[in-house]
Amino acid sequence: MRGYSHSHPLFLPASEIARNHPVTDLLDKRLVFVTGKGGVGKTTVAMALGLRAAAEGKRTIVCEVSSQENASRMFAHTEVGFHEVEMEENLWSISIDPDESMREYVLLQLKVRAMRDMLFRSRIFNYLAAATPGLKELVTIGKIWELAQLDRKVKSGRKYDLVIVDAPATGHGIGFLQTPRTFAAIARVGPIHSQAQQLDRLITDQEHTGVAIVALPEEMPVNESATLERDLLDDVGVAVDRVYMNGLYPERFSGKEAEQLAELAAESDDGLRAAARAGLSEHNRARCQRAQLSRLRRRVEAPVKTLPFLFEPDLGIEGARQLAKRVG
């Protein structure tokens, strides 16, 4: 147990200890994983957190963990690759490529150049590197660990106050954070075992590492967020710090006003009818969403923070900038 002594820690299951850990504010941590179901706006929320932290003066890097490079698309910059690119003041971005991470890992492990060259040329190595299940995820988390070090391993590495990870969608999400634990179990001894354990310690270090789930106010994303929180606690030993309910419609009309609009829709035509119907749709959706928000609050342990639906279409980075005011 790090940094916190519960009065009776021995009488509590590990999950309880994780849950009772004092909440360090999300952006005061060193490393934050942003996770959730696909299509809920993880990339935008991760970027909003990055913008917010950078605005607060923290040197921040946002990491993308697949080859899609949403972050660079959002910044309309030249491609973000496997190198740290400055986006704005205090804000950097990187797309973590597993093959490059593997290469870097070997470079850091083997100081003798001849040995490295031989390994890179070796067919068995290349085959194993490509084929061993979970190895890509492991070296990716290894790179995240490296980025989060105050004493960076790579030559003249920049020091970051905060590393934010736009984690893979759930389904794969729990698998991703669970990788080090799984690897530590597969490789019972040896260097991979100890390194995997080290990465697992990083992920479960509640004081320095945070996890945020992004949800949408719909049935399935709410269910999956609750399941994800439970699984993270039970299988990885991580208590979720915060759940963001993203895309919440404003409540523009009261029930009484909705009745007025229904009357108006029934008696008029064209523009007025269309406007009244749009108002009714908004009222219905906002009401359904509020019901989902209550469900989410009942079903998750972590505090829920709401983020508004942005009506301006396809905002990209501007959307993240608007949400940055609300994510803190």
Binding site: K37, G38, G39, V40, S66, N70, L110, M118, L119, R121, S122, R123, I124, F125, N126, Y127, L128, A130, A131, P133, G134, P168, A169, G171, G175, T182, I186, A187, R188, V189, G190, P191, I192, H193, E218, E219, M220, P221, R252, F253, E257, Q260, L264, A265, S268, D270, G271, L272, A274, A275, R277, A278, G279, S281, N284, R285, F311, E312, P313, D314
Partner: protein, 383 residues
């Protein structure tokens, strides 16, 4: 604009593909329901249905076997199922285990694989194994010939293309040329154990650890008798995907990013010579034409009618927001339609309530299977 019923006419298999969060599961269920209503015996294979959707289909205790959905459930929603609707939830691990059991030359070989710790990891953790197993199950059901139509809801993945690459990746994993090195009597397994050591191997041992290497070698050895069987099977699965009686439907949302992905996915399907059927765009704010109008004095007319200028302003603002969304959707869909040339784009409106039950499913079903005239009527009934 063809309806789903026409696109799927004479098809054996419908594969619904698309990135996560676009309503693939619901769309697959609605397609299967509509085709069963037309008199076919249909089975929908789903990976992860919304709990309430599963409950309403009677899928509560469903495992890796198909179960029939009670047609009476749909009668209440005004849908008569003339054929049969079956559904199953895919269990990737169980499917992989079945496949190993089928391919293994004997029980001992089977158990060696099933009990191997690396196998236990890959059967759930290897990227693409879930996708591959979905296709494997599809192939198995198709070979059995029990159904007129199979509808597959592909696993959620960030990149819809993972699905197409899955068989390749999986077979590469178990058939790779380097694997032969492992499997020779004098191969890696023996070398790891100490007989004859290459320098590369000793370096590898140093960073990976002996234990892990030994486990991997054991895994590859255990698999060795099955490589040919797996290869042949993967080839047949790929053949089935390219068959003209198979149809890929791309499911997406109307926002810029999902539309980009649908365009990309369509191109890849065409490149791979896989049979593309059309795109279903969910949650569309439409029709934009009908949302236009009102003009500059809308707020004034609203104030007059409602007798409340604050409410009138909110109604007008809300309407303007909806118009902007509808116009964005229309622009994105036009881009999509241009990309696909004459091929089908089917729009399903953004319904006022979240679709996760049978009533919602029935409503989506009406849009998917509507004829052109019915579609105009449906649209006219909405804002």
């Amino acid at each position: 604009m063809p309806a789903v019923g026409e696109i799927l006419d004479g098809k054996d298999i419908c594969i619904c593909a698309g990135s996560g969060g676009v309503g693939k599961t619901t769309t697959s269920a609605a397609i299967a329901t509509g085709m069963a209503a037309r008199g076919l015996k249909v089975c929908v294979l789903t990976i992860d249905p919304a709990k309430r959707l599963a409950d309403s289909l009677g899928l509560k205790e469903l495992g890796n076997e198909a179960k029939q959905v009670d047609p009476a459930l749909f009668e209440q929603q005004g849908i008569e199922i003339k054929g049969e609707l079956w559904a199953m939830m895919l269990d990737a691990k169980a499917t992989f285990d079945d496949l190993v059991a089928r391919q293994a030359p004997d029980e001992e070989a089977r158990d060696r694989v099933l009990n191997n710790r690396i196998y236990q990891q890959i059967s759930s953790a290897l990227a693409g194994s879930q996708e591959y197993m979905a296709m494997e199950k599809l192939f198995e059901l198709h070979s059995e010939g029990r159904f007129d139509l199979l509808v597959l809801d592909t696993p959620p993945s960030r990149n819809a293309l993972d699905f197409l690459d899955a068989p390749k990746r999986l077979t590469q994993f178990i058939e790779g040329r380097s694997l032969r090195v492992f499997m020779k009597p004098t191969g890696l397994a023996a070398k790891v154990a100490g007989r004859g050591a290459s320098v590369a191997l000793s370096v590898l041992k140093r960073i990976v650890g002996f234990d892990l290497l030994a486990d991997l070698a054991e895994f590859f050895n255990a698999f060795s008798g099955m490589v040919d069987g797996f290869q042949a099977r993967a080839k047949r699965v790929n053949g089935l995907l390219g068959d003209p009686r198979t149809c890929f439907l791309v499911v997406c949302g109307p926002q810029g990013e999902p539309v980009d992905e649908a365009v990309y996915f369509h191109r890849k399907l065409v490149e791979a010579k896989l049979p593309f059927g059309g795109v279903i765009v969910n949650k569309v704010h439409y029709p934009a034409e009908q949302l236009r109008g009102g003009g500059g004095n809308l707020e004034a007319s609203l104030t007059e009618k409602l007798g409340d200028d604050d409410l009138a302003k909110r109604v007008a603002d809300n309407f303007a927001d909806y118009q902007a969304l509808a116009e964005r959707d229309a622009r994105n869909i036009e881009r999509l339609a241009n990309e696909l040339r004459s091929q089908g784009v089917i729009r399903v409106p953004y319904l006022d309530e979240d679709v996760h039950d049978l009533a919602g499913l029935a409503e989506i079903n009406r849009y998917l299977f509507a004829t052109s005239e019915e579609r105009i009527e449906l649209a006219a009934g909405r804002a």
